[in-house]
């Protein structure tokens, strides 16, 4: 995957998608419901891609991503509602504080592996949630009023930046080092890669974008409450990454789109939605444990079509 080959087509495609949707919205051909769904899809894609960097690329199993979402949501809400600064500053501050939280959580807990890391991240996410629950300045359990500032433009620009940064990170030498940590931590350590450094870097970049998504999320909902950022939110994000394929960015994007659309239509039946989610999670793990796309990207399929014999270059 060469950057020079894909960078401009991606930018052009993004501009076209943006222009078409913006035209439809400003023309009134797309009503509130659909534009809201599109914003929601963008937020979920940002979350899925940021977690993909942590789980799919670096192989660190974090199930506390909602904690960083909460940090971004609350910090950005404080910036706009209490400090009265513009929304763009709030997005940046939300992301940066979430990245700092990622550092604070990541440095001690990324020494752990596998199951223990999963539980530690889950514990940290719960601690973050309980901290917000106990701060009266942000409304405690009752929640905090936030004005509606997220528009399609903000959501889409953040989405494009997120994907660009994460794709470029993955293709850089740092990304390759992170992949080597995923494949075999001991071997990459023996090759002279500072595994802790790359794990922490990937974790805090992932947290940064989760914070950005949090800023968009809180300014899309009028009110934020600590209960929105519990276990279930973390699992929601996790299922995007798992269903799409651990290690596949386009898989994460596709499953985020698919599942957001499905859950929007099942909004009236929350139990049915959760039953379908959990069944999907179990069945995918039992019959296709690498997820729908494995570690393949969409562009790899184009290459496969061009060279019918497949060639040896698919996969990682």
């Amino acid at each position: 995957m060469k950057k020079s080959k894909q960078f401009w087509p991606f930018i052009i495609a993004a501009v076209i998608v943006y222009a078409v949707v913006q035209f439809l919205i400003s023309n009134g051909m797309m009503n509130q419901f659909y534009s809201n769904t599109l914003i929601f899809i963008s937020i979920n894609i940002i979350l899925a891609v940021s977690l993909h960097l942590v789980i799919g690329i670096t192989g660190q199993f974090s199930i506390g991503h909602a904690g960083f979402l909460a940090v971004g949501a609350y910090i950005s809400a404080i910036v706009t509602m209490k400090l009265h600064l513009p929304f763009i500053v709030a997005i940046l501050v939300g992301g940066i504080v979430a990245a700092l939280a990622g550092l604070v959580v990541g440095i001690p807990s990324l020494r752990l592996k596998g199951d223990y890391l999963a539980i530690a991240t889950l514990g940290f996410a719960e601690i973050i949630r309980i901290v917000f629950l106990n701060i009266d300045a942000v409304g405690g359990a009752a929640g905090m009023q936030v004005s509606h500032l997220t528009t399609w433009t903000y959501a889409f620009v953040c989405l494009v930046i997120t994907i660009l940064v994460i794709v470029n990170f993955t293709n850089s030498r740092h990304g390759i080092a992170s992949i080597s940590v995923r494949e075999n931590e001991i071997a990459s350590d023996a090759m002279g890669i500072n595994t802790t450094y790359y794990k922490v870097i990937a974790f805090s970049i992932g947290s940064f974008f989760a914070g950005v998504a949090g800023a968009l999320y809180s300014h899309n909902f009028y009110i934020i409450q600590p209960s929105q950022f519990g276990f279930l939110k973390s699992f929601d994000i996790l299922i995007f990454v798992v269903l799409g394929g651990l290690g596949s960015l386009s898989g994460a994007v596709l499953s985020a789109i698919l599942l957001t659309v499905v859950s929007t239509y099942l909004q009236g039946y929350p139990e049915t939605r959760m039953i379908i989610y959990s069944l999907v999670l179990i069945l995918v793990m039992l019959y296709r444990p690498k997820g729908l796309m494995g570690t393949m990207e969409i562009t790899d399929y184009f290459k496969l079509w061009r060279t019918p014999k497949g060639g040896g270059q698919h996969g990682k």
Partner: protein, 291 residues
């Protein structure tokens, strides 16, 4: 004697955590899987006990036994359907499946009976007596003794019976156990059955003690019981008991000091401290990593 009262409350809570933690630690010891669905088995056990008492008019002990038997069966079914084919899968795949099973049970129960909570009926008289100035209810003594009896029973099964011997052998070295003619699949099922039965008992006890049950009640006690198992050293049975009791007492002390909203955070702070400073737990031995 305020502190004695709090200590007794803490031990009662801790014995519930310990009962759940035993299931976690046994399953982890034998197949290295964090069985996230264990907290939901606890919830199912609580509801089975509730319906046995209210619908069938049974007493506490018959309800306890029915709930334990049903949960044992339920645990084996979960293991056979969902976990058995994951024996050779990656740890992450197994963990995600366990999360999926947990969500499926929670929302399946909500789908069947709705999300509304239920009030557990009073099965014991609310008598209490004074001991060194502390009010001790008969109920908490009974609950404590049931937990202690179950734990002694578990120690007996693990150390004195053939099944228990097989369980210890499989958890020590699965391959060698297989070569010695132990039926590994049945042993794993037996582990799930025993662990789930204990969770079912914990569910009934929890219902009687806290009087309010709902379909999502298993999530927080489940995670806390896991903390207790890690605290004691995961895979070690006495560790889970001690870990559960310590966690219960610490939580009660935190509430008693006036930080009741921070109670849940206390468990997670303990978890993170123990994971960072002594990942093998109080009773754990350090194992060296092999390349």
């Amino acid at each position: 004697m305020e502190w004695l009262q709090q200590l007794i409350n803490g031990i009662s809570l801790g014995s519930i955590y310990a009962l759940i933690a035993l299931g976690y630690t046994m399953v982890y010891g034998i197949i290295k899987l964090i069985n996230f669905a264990h907290g939901d088995v606890f919830m199912v056990g609580s509801f089975i006990g509730f319906y046995s008492i209210t619908v069938f008019g049974l007493g506490f002990f018959p309800a306890l036994i029915i709930s334990m038997a049903a949960c044992a069966l339920f645990g084996v079914i979960i293991e056979r359907i969902a976990y058995k084919r994951l024996r050779n899968a990656t740890r992450i795949a197994a963990l995600i499946t366990a999360i999926g099973v947990s969500l499926l049970i929670e929302y399946g129960v909500i789908y069947i009976r709705g999300a509304q909570p239920e009030a557990y009926p009073d099965v014991f008289s609310n008598r209490s007596f004074e001991l060194f100035g502390a009010q001790i209810s008969v109920q908490s003594i009974l609950i404590l003794s049931v937990s202690v009896v179950l734990m002694i029973l578990l120690q007996f099964i693990v150390h004195k019976t053939k099944t228990g011997k097989a369980m210890r052998a499989v958890s020590h070295d699965t391959e060698a156990a297989k070569l010695m003619g132990i039926n590994v699949d049945n042993t794993i099922s037996a582990t799930f059955a025993i662990g789930s039965a204990l969770a079912g008992a914990a569910g009934v006890i929890f219902g009687v003690y806290y009087t309010k049950i709902d379909p999502l009640m298993g999530v927080i006690p489940g995670v806390k019981a896991f903390v207790a198992a890690v605290l004691g050293g995961i895979g070690i049975i006495p560790g889970a008991m001690v870990g559960g009791l310590v966690l219960g007492v610490v939580e009660t002390i935190v509430s008693a000091l006036g930080f009741s909203l921070w109670r849940d955070a206390a468990a997670f702070v303990i978890l993170i401290l123990i994971l960072i400073f002594r990942p093998s737990g109080i009773f754990g031995k350090n194992t060296r990593e092999k390349v």
